[in-house]
Symmetry: C2
Subunit: 521 residues, 2 copies
């Protein structure tokens, strides 16, 4: 079998990308689960559409998509399904229906009970990575609509995080949730120990009565001492970065109401239907993935910027960083060979208009730049009409400027107004040129509601899944995080055991130096 | 004159970088203003040191550095000085001493007065970009040490930001600061209008009496209606992204005390001395810049990740994004020609250990990866000893793993423990391999105090300055942000004027479509 770069469909695809215009002239907007996805300024042509079909076919897209929804073991290095779609389906697949519906009902009942007796004004959520970004993003995005509780998140093992999260809360009225798939996560358990001490120090006689747990390892939660009826379960076929749709959504239900969680799931399920059924040309996640692969592997963009023009969507950036970079940041194919095209762009960004005053200079005038995903809500949840008009105008203007660019002639005309020396003006005008032709995607939400947010997250999930298929990698494992964890355990023991002989350190000179130096404190 | 890539010193430099070992074996740690900067795992060799000297000489480094501190007009496209070092010098240069000392004293007096009468329990800061990240970073980083006031920041023109910032505050006890160099910044003025409405709606008869302004355009602030004695000035020779050291530091002084601002300045001044006087080999900003240029322009890394292992330093990421990407995101040289080597990496990242659960998979196993700047505080400001040990261990372990990598043989040994089929084990082991040899820098602060933070920021400022010199670009202008601003003004008028004929839109089809569609709401 030829490598990807030598395969016929890849050659056709990359050729078609390179020969497509950088400033297309026909609108290309796809509606998916109430979101409008505008791909007009990404590369497109009839030839490219044909080549894309052939590439999807060569890489086995339809079979993989079928397997995803059927719960086949598509996480091939761990021999597991990746069945997050089952968690949000109105009618989950038979094989897991009972388990899923039971946990949904248990969670709803728990929330109803604590609401009924007005319990727990405060919720402290201890999770990290996949157990953290989803609930955090949902809360940051939707909290404006009215929150039921004070919700604080502590993820980092740096104790400044848990200290800040607990500060000022009434311990007697606080619920602590440990969210950890394995229930062995160092950060969450270390922070849970702090929370127990804090509850006790603040007069709570039985701290563990103030805990709940969400985990795929309920036995470990039981051993920890958490009450059986407050242990919510998910399963090994739910990846950490897709776990938001499971009981990991508990803080959302407590903070924003069970309807918010249900609506998020419904929006995601609507996007699932779209991804499963829309024809390739009109399939938003597929088309976004094709553009992403064209931008990264053919046009050579090493990163893309995510710029939601909505101050509430700041946490979308780390959420997407995890989804994209943990899923795609690998280069080993199913047969053990190495992927031979550049893959997995860096994901970075921040909400606009803040980003404009931070890094848009670079987007416009760096020698290469990066594609941008713009996100906009048609209707805001405030009444400041002019602000919203300015926000929309800025978003559209940045996108137009990246596409159109500013020529030397245009720049010279401007510069000449103030600089009369023609030689100086010509040099200065060079500094004003924008190359233009820089691709972007615009996603417009009718409004930032739970349903739309759910659809948006599922859109990106399926985009990343499709990228995995196109590159031929398994987006559901993360072997690269294990090695560092093991080294950390070893180094921690060395930092603790002052007596250990630094001369026998198995590490490089710098690591050995710092272990010695920082251990002695 | 040959282009940079064809110049003798560049050829020598890039050759020396490529022939230097990717796993150096000698410690290389520089102490600068109490920070220890460990460059051991960046490329180095005797030949590279010689080549670096030659490159610095060819690019005129010593003259530029001299001009920076002397207030020469090194911002050549705007014909201005970039004299932020003058703002933090204990004894400012004669030419600006009176102005600088007068404003320092005015600010101190104002803070003393409001403190004396216990005025303004709340401060709302309206600035964006360079007027926002510095104070925000300082407050986020140092607030744990004890804050004097509730400090809120609203930057985005999205009104969800200002709405959240004002929520729950007592208007009568609130000071609003407008920080804007030009005093024409759309975002800050739009948010100021909201704040005035809010003050009035909450019973404040003279809202403008609750305002202060920091600006290089005091006349505009006067016209706005702000009291003369509450207008603090800075000057056109202070770039927005270097303005933290001017009266833009006002919210720091109000929120954390005037000593915090003074200590930050003192730490930065100490780093200035180091940058000015330390020999090249022992000059931390210079050596960091050389590594950055080697990584970007020679080794082809398109980005670098900033991972402070301290939960309080989250805002360092956007602060550095602005500093690096707005300063270096351009490719036009002094003579108007185009830089012909890749420059200005994307800056991204997040605090560890959160980053480990977000994108470290990618850092370890992506085909290329990115260099990392790790930052660590030797002593924390909490008493959770084990947490801090875990934090240090994780930081050192990730760095060691990126450097050492994990071989196929090592991986195979591990995998064979559970996978007995040799063929399957061999394939699976490929998925566990880490290439290693990935460069990083480790910066160790004795503790996160105002002085150390000041030194850290100045370290990066001078690093970026030196990169500008090495690439031959002007790091002090930002022509790329003007064009989008102008388009935004035009689009806003179109969105507002429903009658305008969309057929005559000067924009691309997609922009025209959205202007039409979103205007009609």
């Amino acid at each position: 079998m030829p490598s990807l770069s030598n395969s016929p469909a890849w050659k056709q695809f990359s050729q078609a990308v390179l020969s497509s215009p950088s400033k297309p002239d026909a609108l290309r907007i796809i509606t998916a689960a109430q979101l409008e996805v505008d791909l007009t300024t990404q590369r497109s042509s009839k030839e490219l559409a044909r080549a894309a079909h052939a590439l999807l076919e060569q890489q086995g897209f339809e079979q993989y998509r079928h397997d995803l929804f059927e719960g086949a073991k598509i996480n091939w290095t761990e021999n597991r399904a990746a069945w997050h779609t089952a968690l949000r389906a109105a009618t989950p697949p038979v094989a897991v229906a009972e388990a899923v519906l039971t946990e949904r009902a248990r969670l709803a009942k728990f929330v109803e009970e604590v609401n009924a007796c007005n319990q727990y004004r405060n919720v402290v959520h201890l999770g990290i990575g996949g157990s953290d970004w989803g609930p955090r993003l949902a809360f940051d995005s939707l909290a404006g609509a009215g929150t039921r509780r004070t919700l604080r998140f502590a993820s980092n093992v740096d104790a400044h995080a848990i200290t800040a999260a607990l500060e000022g809360l009434d311990a007697h009225d606080t619920l602590v949730i440990i969210s950890s798939k394995s229930f062995t996560t160092t950060e969450s358990l270390a922070n849970a120990a702090c929370a127990i001490d804090w509850l006790r120090a603040n007069g709570v006689a039985y701290p563990l009565d103030h805990f709940a747990a969400v985990t795929a390892n309920p036995q470990a939660a039981r051993n920890f001492g958490i009450n059986e009826e407050r242990i919510f379960q998910f399963w090994d076929w739910v990846g950490g970065r897709y776990s938001l749709w499971s009981s990991i959504g508990l803080p959302i239900a407590l903070g924003l109401g069970i309807e918010a969680l249900n609506e998020m799931r419904a929006g995601a399920a609507e996007m699932d239907e779209h991804f499963l059924n829309a024809p390739i040309e009109q399939n938003a996640p597929v088309q976004m993935a094709l553009s992403a692969v064209a931008n990264r592997s053919v046009l050579g963009y090493g990163s893309f910027a995510l710029c939601p023009y909505d101050a509430r969507l700041g946490s979308l950036v780390p959420w997407l960083q995890q989804l994209e970079m943990e899923s795609l940041g690998k280069a080993t194919l199913r047969d053990g060979s190495t992927l031979d095209v550049p893959s997995s762009p860096v994901v970075w960004g921040m909400p606009g208009t803040d980003g404009q005053h931070t890094f848009f200079q670079w987007l416009h005038q760096d020698g290469k730049g990066a594609p941008v995903d713009f996100i906009l809500c048609a209707v805001p949840d405030h009444r400041h009409t002019r602000h919203h008009r300015l926000l929309i105008a800025n978003c559209l203007a940045q996108r137009a400027a990246l596409l159109e660019g500013k020529s030397f002639e245009q720049s010279l005309k401007e510069v000449t107004k103030t600089e009369k020396d023609p030689e100086k003006a010509a040099v200065l005008a060079r500094h004003h040129v924008h190359p233009g032709g820089r691709p972007s995607t615009l996603i417009v939400l009718p409004r930032l509601e739970a349903r739309q947010l759910g659809a948006l997250l599922a859109l990106y999930e399926h985009k990343v899944f499709t990228e995995g298929v196109l590159w031929g990698i398994n987006p559901f494992d993360q072997w690269g995080v294990e090695f560092g964890k093991r080294l950390a355990g070893d180094i921690e023991r060395r930092l603790d055991a002052l007596g250990s002989d630094p001369a026998v350190s198995p590490y490089d000179p710098s690591t050995a130096y710092w272990v010695r130096k920082l251990a002695s404190r």
